[in-house]
Amino acid sequence: MTILSGVYIFLFYAAMAIFLLGLANRIRIYARTPAPLKIVTTPAPVTQAGVVMRMTREVVLFESLFKSSKWTWIFGWIFHLSLLLAFFRHLRYVISPDFFLWPLVNNLVVQSFGLYAGFGIAIGLAGLFARRILVDRVRYISNPSDYLMLILIFAIAMTGLGMTYVAPTDIVSLKMFILGLFYFDWQPLPDDLMLLAHLTLVLVLMIIFPISKLLHAPGVFFSPTRNQVDNAREKRHLAPWAAKLDATRSGSGSQQNG
């Protein structure tokens, strides 16, 4: 076991802890904070099932973005879809064939298209980056972190592609290293530069996830303009803090009119 492996073992646990706890904390805050009023953007579904459909279209197809800007939509959608494929393809470095989730990994879509997902990520990000620079309105609203986020994920994709097509890493050892993390049976990490760069960037991404705009991922599910049912007249909607005001309501109402 080298010092390098030790450092990465520590970083993996730390990054995972920050990612999971940070995200859980954020989601807890979103879930705990009440939405006191019905503010759904209409026309909106009038049933809960309809809301599930609306949210599904939003998350899978980026429906609102499609209405808004076709260029942002096509690059954004390619990027996110490729990211998803890449994620599933990477699962094979983490789970064993005897694990019940293996079919998720070992299927035609993931294993064939997934191979090219890195290109999709790069193309999507390049398009979004170009838009950020070329469109004066988008350039105006961009902060350094907005560019860096694109660069970070782009670099992750490029180092990943590098290992697939240029300098393959010792994938068997890598898988043993990863599985070792899960079973607390630590194994050495192959010390090839491309892999170390790839993993380091991924760790950075995990660490900044709960403190950055990547919070849009959980955020969209908590967006009241998208997740509420349009039934304000039929069903009374009352948040806890608003209910407290309710109790004193008629008094304050008539006093104001006196």
Binding site: P34, D136, S145, R233
Partner: protein, 510 residues
């Protein structure tokens, strides 16, 4: 006419190149101490205003999921940047929805996020100071809370929520907007936005009854404070005196008359508008809404019908049940509240109203979807009823109807430019420039289809267009109420038909 230039109407709407700070410092009058006091806000900027502002922001973050989630979720994708009518009309980048949000988000990041506390430059975080506050006051009063941006945002971020929060924070530190806060004070004191006292209201209604009698020979009533009436009509107070609003009110009265229902207005709740929403104050919004409940209970009505008003219909449709409900004492067989267009359309479908559509033949109509009706409410049972029902009513009473360009109507409708608490003369430049996209779409159908009039169902839209149309070289009386059209075409039972027909025939000969 004014110390600014009215934008030029183009055939195709173009996204302007950015021109920084064109609207910097443009702002409404600041509320005087007594305006502030009646709403429970400090009279002027408090000494420790920065702490108060940040405390208030923290308070709102814990009370409004929308505020918390929307401040975190924006990825600066730019989808909203070309969607705001104020940006399209002014070219000022701070009128792009995301940039407007960022005026506040930058402060949120500085004080409430890890990244902003430690790396402010990296994430565009900035300290709260007087300059920032001034910027807020200017640009959060150049947002009409129309929600057009929220339609196009992939996360549904609604700038209206941020604007409301910003205005609430500003009220908390003592920097309120005169227009909104003075009006809310009037509602509490007199019962309506215009400060129209009961006596004046009664006289106005009697005058109207006389006018209708002269016109039609039918004694159509506009009852006030009638206990035991079935229906309480809640309508914007502009309906009692402004043009073309008042013609809409006459229309409601004729529909009620023909339907044979008993109805009444209330002097206690002689105002549908709820400016509490504009300033983001739940408490004030609730106090205003509760008047409706009190009036309904006091008069012992069974139903609530709501007049033509946009933001007010949002509060009524989406918030009344929450703020002033439950309305378990009303007849549950009808929607609570019911929009006057729903009411009229129901009667039309049951064939209970007779129309002479030719009465409106001198006009070719188009319909302006009012922003808050379109994107924050519904009419009827189906999503999108808020688009179809008003159009159905218009088509039932008019022969000539044309829609404006698809990307400027329905859920993508452009605000009139005067909503959200901006309908004040001290914001005339913002109002005229913000009306540009709507004026362009209107001008298109005027030139291509010979449209003569635009109908609307919002008191603010009607007032705003009356004022703004002349800036764009169009006549101010182009704007009409939907129920004004109903009023023209409706055939009242027992009406003096002869003279009416003569008028029509002489008109058509002209």
């Amino acid at each position: 006419m004014a110390d600014f230039e009215t934008p030029e109407l183009k055939e195709y709407s173009v996204i302007p190149a950015l021109e920084r700070d064109t609207m910097k410092g443009t702002q409404p009058f600041i509320a005087k101490p007594d305006h502030q006091a009646s709403l429970g806000f400090p009279g002027e900027l408090v000494d420790n205003w920065k702490d108060v502002a940040l405390d208030k922001m923290g308070d709102l973050l814990s009370r409004y999921r929308s505020f918390q989630v929307y401040l975190d979720s924006c990825v600066k994708c730019g989808a909203c940047t070309d969607k705001c009518h104020y940006f399209l009309g002014t070219s000022d980048p701070k009128n792009m929805p995301v940039a407007r949000q960022d005026l506040l988000r930058s402060v949120y990041r500085r004080y409430f996020t890890f990244a902003g506390k430690w790396f402010p430059k990296l994430v565009g975080a900035r300290d709260m100071d007087k300059e920032v506050l001034d910027e807020w006051y200017s640009y959060f009063h150049q947002c009409s809370q129309c929600r057009r941006c929220s339609v196009f945002c992939p996360y549904g971020i609604d700038t209206a929520e941020i604007s409301m929060a910003a205005r609430e924070i500003m009220d908390a530190v003592g920097v309120g907007q005169k227009y909104c806060n003075e009006i809310i004070g009037k509602v509490f004191k007199v019962g309506n936005n215009l400060g129209l006292p009961e006596k004046a209201l009664k006289d106005t209604l009697l005058d109207l009854e006389e006018e209708i009698l002269d016109d039609t020979g039918v004694p159509v009533k506009l009852p006030l404070d009638v206990k035991g009436a079935d229906i309480l009509l809640v309508t914007p107070s502009a309906d009692f005196f402004a043009e073309p609003h008042i013609d809409g009110l006459i229309g409601y009265a004729k529909v009620f008359h023909e339907a044979g229902v008993s109805w009444t207005l209330s002097s206690h709740a002689s105002e549908a508008g709820n400016f509490g929403m504009f300033i983001g104050s739940y408490e004030n919004m609730q106090n205003i809404a509760v008047r409706i409940r009190e009036a309904a209970l006091d008069l012992g009505v069974k139903r609530l019908v709501h007049g033509e008003c946009g933001h007010a219909w949002r509060v009524a449709y989406s918030f009344w049940n929450t703020l002033a409900g439950p309305f378990d004492f009303l007849d549950q067989n009808y929607p609570i509240p019911q929009h006057i267009c729903e009411f009229t359309w129901d009667l039309i479908q049951q064939d209970k109203l007779k129309f002479d559509k030719s009465e409106n033949d001198h006009m070719t109509l188009t319909f302006h979807d009012s922003c808050n009706v379109a994107r924050a409410t519904r009419m009827g049972d189906k999503p999108g009823g808020q688009f179809d029902i008003p159009r159905n009513v218009i088509k039932a009473v008019c022969n000539n109807y044309v829609d404006m360009e698809e990307s400027t109507i329905k859920e993508a409708t452009f605000c009139c430019g005067g909503g959200g608490g901006l309908l004040t003369d001290d914001l005339m430049e913002v109002r005229v420039k913000g009306a540009l996209p709507r004026m362009e779409a209107l001008n298109d159908v005027v030139e291509e289809h010979g449209v003569t009039n635009m109908a609307a169902i919002c008191a603010i839209c009607k007032s705003q267009f009356t004022k703004v149309l002349p800036y764009y070289k169009m006549p101010m009386d182009m704007i009409v109420s939907v129920h004004q059209l109903v009023s023209e075409a409706i055939i009242l039972t027992g009406a003096d038909d002869g003279s009416d027909e003569q008028e029509t025939s002489s008109e058509s000969e002209d």
